[in-house]
Symmetry: C5
Amino acid sequence: MQLPVSPEVAANAVGNIENLVTLTSGQYTMGSLILMVSYGAHFAFILYFLMTSMQLAPRYRIVPIMSAIVMASAGLSLLREFTTWQDAYTLVGASYVPMQGESIFTNAFRYGNWTITVPILLTQLPIAFAISRPDLHKRAIRMSIPAVLMIWTGLYGQFGETGDFSRLNIWGVISTIFFVWLIIEVRGVITAAIANSPPQLVNWPKNLWYYFLATWGLYPIAYALPQLGFTGDIVVVRQLLFSIADISTKLIYGIILSRYLLRRSALEGY
Amino acid sequence: MQLPVSPEVAANAVGNIENLVTLTSGQYTMGSLILMVSYGAHFAFILYFLMTSMQLAPRYRIVPIMSAIVMASAGLSLLREFTTWQDAYTLVGASYVPMQGESIFTNAFRYGNWTITVPILLTQLPIAFAISRPDLHKRAIRMSIPAVLMIWTGLYGQFGETGDFSRLNIWGVISTIFFVWLIIEVRGVITAAIANSPPQLVNWPKNLWYYFLATWGLYPIAYALPQLGFTGDIVVVRQLLFSIADISTKLIYGIILSRYLLRRSALEGY
Amino acid sequence: MQLPVSPEVAANAVGNIENLVTLTSGQYTMGSLILMVSYGAHFAFILYFLMTSMQLAPRYRIVPIMSAIVMASAGLSLLREFTTWQDAYTLVGASYVPMQGESIFTNAFRYGNWTITVPILLTQLPIAFAISRPDLHKRAIRMSIPAVLMIWTGLYGQFGETGDFSRLNIWGVISTIFFVWLIIEVRGVITAAIANSPPQLVNWPKNLWYYFLATWGLYPIAYALPQLGFTGDIVVVRQLLFSIADISTKLIYGIILSRYLLRRSALEGY
Amino acid sequence: MQLPVSPEVAANAVGNIENLVTLTSGQYTMGSLILMVSYGAHFAFILYFLMTSMQLAPRYRIVPIMSAIVMASAGLSLLREFTTWQDAYTLVGASYVPMQGESIFTNAFRYGNWTITVPILLTQLPIAFAISRPDLHKRAIRMSIPAVLMIWTGLYGQFGETGDFSRLNIWGVISTIFFVWLIIEVRGVITAAIANSPPQLVNWPKNLWYYFLATWGLYPIAYALPQLGFTGDIVVVRQLLFSIADISTKLIYGIILSRYLLRRSALEGY
Amino acid sequence: MQLPVSPEVAANAVGNIENLVTLTSGQYTMGSLILMVSYGAHFAFILYFLMTSMQLAPRYRIVPIMSAIVMASAGLSLLREFTTWQDAYTLVGASYVPMQGESIFTNAFRYGNWTITVPILLTQLPIAFAISRPDLHKRAIRMSIPAVLMIWTGLYGQFGETGDFSRLNIWGVISTIFFVWLIIEVRGVITAAIANSPPQLVNWPKNLWYYFLATWGLYPIAYALPQLGFTGDIVVVRQLLFSIADISTKLIYGIILSRYLLRRSALEGY
Ligand SMILES: CC1=C(/C=C/C(C)=C/C=C/C(C)=C/C=O)C(C)(C)CCC1
Ligand SMILES: CC1=C(/C=C/C(C)=C/C=C/C(C)=C/C=O)C(C)(C)CCC1
Ligand SMILES: CC1=C(/C=C/C(C)=C/C=C/C(C)=C/C=O)C(C)(C)CCC1
Ligand SMILES: CC1=C(/C=C/C(C)=C/C=C/C(C)=C/C=O)C(C)(C)CCC1
Ligand SMILES: CC1=C(/C=C/C(C)=C/C=C/C(C)=C/C=O)C(C)(C)CCC1
Ligand code: NA
Ligand code: NA
Ligand code: NA
Ligand code: NA
Ligand code: NA
Ligand code: NA
Ligand code: NA
Ligand code: NA
Ligand code: NA
Ligand code: NA
């Protein structure tokens, strides 16, 4: 067995604070539990979205199919996070110690996965709110560009969370600028959606706007969290935050869009 | 090979009594068998619920789809319990000894999974019994709040089952208070369902009420069981209780709702 | 490397003779092959049953769906038997020796799985032969009770096959009494089915009766086989017997029922 | 690490020449690649056959469903061959050496799997060419009997390929006699199919006959190949031959039948 | 632990430069991330193509089904690349070192997989652009021949990338000649497609031509890349190039064809 290497070396090698912190049994189990529940929920809801798509007017069917794709892709990514978590810690006495053997934990898979899922999630919005074709394409692209830049700058920055935080903070700020740009683009889509909406359903895009801000806003909090300290509680709370955000921005968001479209399909006589 | 650590350390580190008890070969095999049969049954019945949903009136189709989601999510959780069980014990002479190597068994995955499945199971009830929309939402939320509080207080308490039982008992009582609150909310839904039911089918919600009490009531028994002693038989009986409860409250419950809805769909001329 | 423990200890610890017998390479490979072919066939025929159900009159669709559930559940159980077989033996020189490391082989998973699959297989019978509802329920339950008692007494007895055989034989006899009771109940269903059958199809329930006796009768033979000696050939022949029985009583039985129902659906104008 | 045992012992213990031959890195990688591509192709084409079956006249739908079953079952078997290949060799310096640890490679899984797939492949023929029912059953059985005898005698014989070849050759000849018998039965079906075929499609059964001879004939070549020497090239060429044969006799054969039936369904006004 | 063998031996044994290069933690994590995102995306889009095929005119349905087959087969291949990547490196201090234990990384699985996927991708083209049958077959075959020769010569050549580059370059040139031949054949299909296209959609084949050149052209760049040096950055950039190419030539290409066919189906009154 190989105990944790010296902090300075580790700071360069391990990427995430999970590999620097010794966990209690309860903390380790909570981490496993959070990741397990997350991948289970994502895989299970593939079924919901596939079955729902068959009940919508044809032009809207692609929206729950996109949710199913997001569920599958995020579920595979979360399953991988779970496996890596299990591999990364070893029980030594009554504690779970990282750096045993060759495996290290990484949150980078999450950022990689967002490169696929975030453009899909954003493109669902103008399709669901029936924005028509040339405008739809333009808006999808205009949202996806700041989104991808936000993710990649954040991905680069998060490797710095085990060091002196300047890398984490500088790239965090740059990423946030892209996030603000993204929010402006999303607001544009929401405004068009409100104009475009049947009067009985106009509250849906209005409320979705606040839902979007509240749930996407959880990710930067999780990003910044290591600055509060390298402790087991911070590690677990961050995984919890990531999971709440995942289930909110992908799964529940998809259910909201599907239920909106069930009503809209009915209103349009389908 | 590393033998079990001293009881005091273990009590803090292992969470569940499974990690403190040496099993005979028969006990170990029964534990594996119970978990294997459980995950197999849950996965296999996904097929039943998906196929059944296609035979119902459109407004009821979501109910078996929800059962399929519960099957998938619980099946993944039980597969994980099985794998952890296999990893947690090592054959030493003629006995299966825990604490070999790095893996410990945990029932906490079950509680984590309930956070997803229990709100779905409860929400199936007002949908199946055709309670109409604003009331449906209110009732689903009013049942889910005590349910989630019951689960999380129970999750916190069950980590105490290897210690002096005060943590187990105090949080068990708090959890039970939420359970009573939940039962009252469920009774409200059942009463509305009886009022709402076509006369030929009025016995279904009536009987489901007793079925609910009898099957959900198995979980607190499993929770309290370690107080009867840290023995291999208690370990196996508890896994058996959990599995009977799982198959009753999720799988058979889902079949009952589906068959009710097949009849109700027929009565409503579908 | 750890060689087999003394026979007396082993007899208490290992449950099944597979863990007491050294296999030749050919025997080991045949065992793997039998289990691999079995799980492959069960998984693959899920597709057959799901696709077939779509071609039947609605009231019969549940029958191939039940076969698909049985395929999935038994396939998972057989995959587990395969994995355990691979883990249980280690190549030492030119032989495969059990008891290396921590894994032991067990047939108990089979019995556990039957607890789920056998009631489903029996319930298929009155549904396929169009026995109407209150009678159908009564007959399904009256068959399932002796079936489950037969399985559980047999499960308890089979742990005795490595000892002095009295446990094996006493519980084998008790299990057989339940089997006889079950056969009488099944005969009742077959008689009702013959009465109930369109004249062109009356040979189907008649022949199924003999098919039932011939194929279900293979299981007690496999149960008793260890009394012929603890040899590699007996081990392989028993796995072969189990697999022939599995494919006959679940897969081919399901095909027979499905083809019967294809004709019956056509006769009933579907 | 344990180097290959002496040739005489190995000849009795290892079954297939793969376990006697040291591979270069290129040979090892080609073997992995061949098996990986094979299982990937078989699994992927399940989708093709399931989707195609929905486009055929009802009486022909079973034919692509049977292809899907064959794909699933053969894909699982080939995945197992791949895993066993990876486990069987260990990198020592610049070579891949067998017999390291406990795993040996075996081709016997292929023969086991044919016991399921070959009768299905043969039964597809009279169904696809619309031979009517009592004759269909008779012909399916008359083809399956020599086929299964051919497979099992070949399975027994192939265990002799590491010894003095008399076992390989004697059982190879016996197996070939059954193959000739099988070919005669298949010719009977083809002749009936030609008589039975709409004139525009009569070339399909005619050409399929030559396709059948050319592709099924690859298997005995692979069987006999070890007589050319125990070298890495022979090992790789044999896996390649097996894979070409698998993709030809199952996957492409299934595509041919499906495309024939698409046309036949159209001609029959579906 | 076994450190990298001497460069000369390694050059013959390891096939790809990945096995000669020590990675930083960031490089190793980026490699894992790229492969994980790739297989996740391919698997997830199976759902998209299966659901889309149901919305097209019957004659075009096969096109997204072919994309689904490509997704499944490539996803399995990429999952295998991911697993091999994880197995091939071991954390030593703060670096990931190859050649630890027995596993080596290989890109050859990619080339093997193309043997299946490339002919499917090429055959999609004339089907999607409604080229009628005898011509369609001729063109599919005329494209597939140079394609397969290109792949196999490239596969042979890429084993030379760890040596003195003459093997890499000679076979790279030969492969490129086949690529040019292939491009000429594809241009023929595109020209026929333009002639054949409804006027409103004529830009689709025109643009697809440039898309084809730009995306397929990424593969030879990845092939040649090791000549720029054996460094961790080159290793990561190559995996990134391969993944961008995979997602472009298979996934996005499939989406483009599907969306074209949705419009063409609508124009043809479906
Ligand atoms: C502002 C900001 C960030 C924002 C991330 C967001 C908003 C991610 C959303 C992800 C979603 C919705 C995923 C669904 O699959 C980062 C990159 C953490 C870096 C720190 C600054
Ligand atoms: C009262 C009580 C409990 C009740 C648990 C229940 C009622 C769980 C139901 C779970 C279901 C239905 C799961 C289905 O997926 C706990 C938490 C054990 C803690 C002890 C007190
Ligand atoms: C009489 C008898 C037995 C009978 C077992 C049977 C009849 C099992 C049938 C199983 C099936 C049909 C499974 C399908 O999934 C036992 C328990 C071996 C114990 C010995 C006596
Ligand atoms: C003649 C002969 C053989 C023929 C094998 C054949 C013809 C196998 C066909 C297999 C198929 C079609 C499998 C598809 O899943 C053996 C047994 C190798 C043994 C040597 C002699
Ligand atoms: C010209 C050239 C090559 C071209 C490869 C191509 C064009 C591959 C396309 C693959 C696709 C489209 C795969 C999709 O699944 C090689 C073989 C790298 C070798 C070097 C020269
Ligand atoms: Na671990
Ligand atoms: Na670690
Ligand atoms: Na174990
Ligand atoms: Na343990
Ligand atoms: Na083994
Ligand atoms: Na063993
Ligand atoms: Na190996
Ligand atoms: Na070996
Ligand atoms: Na590794
Ligand atoms: Na390596």
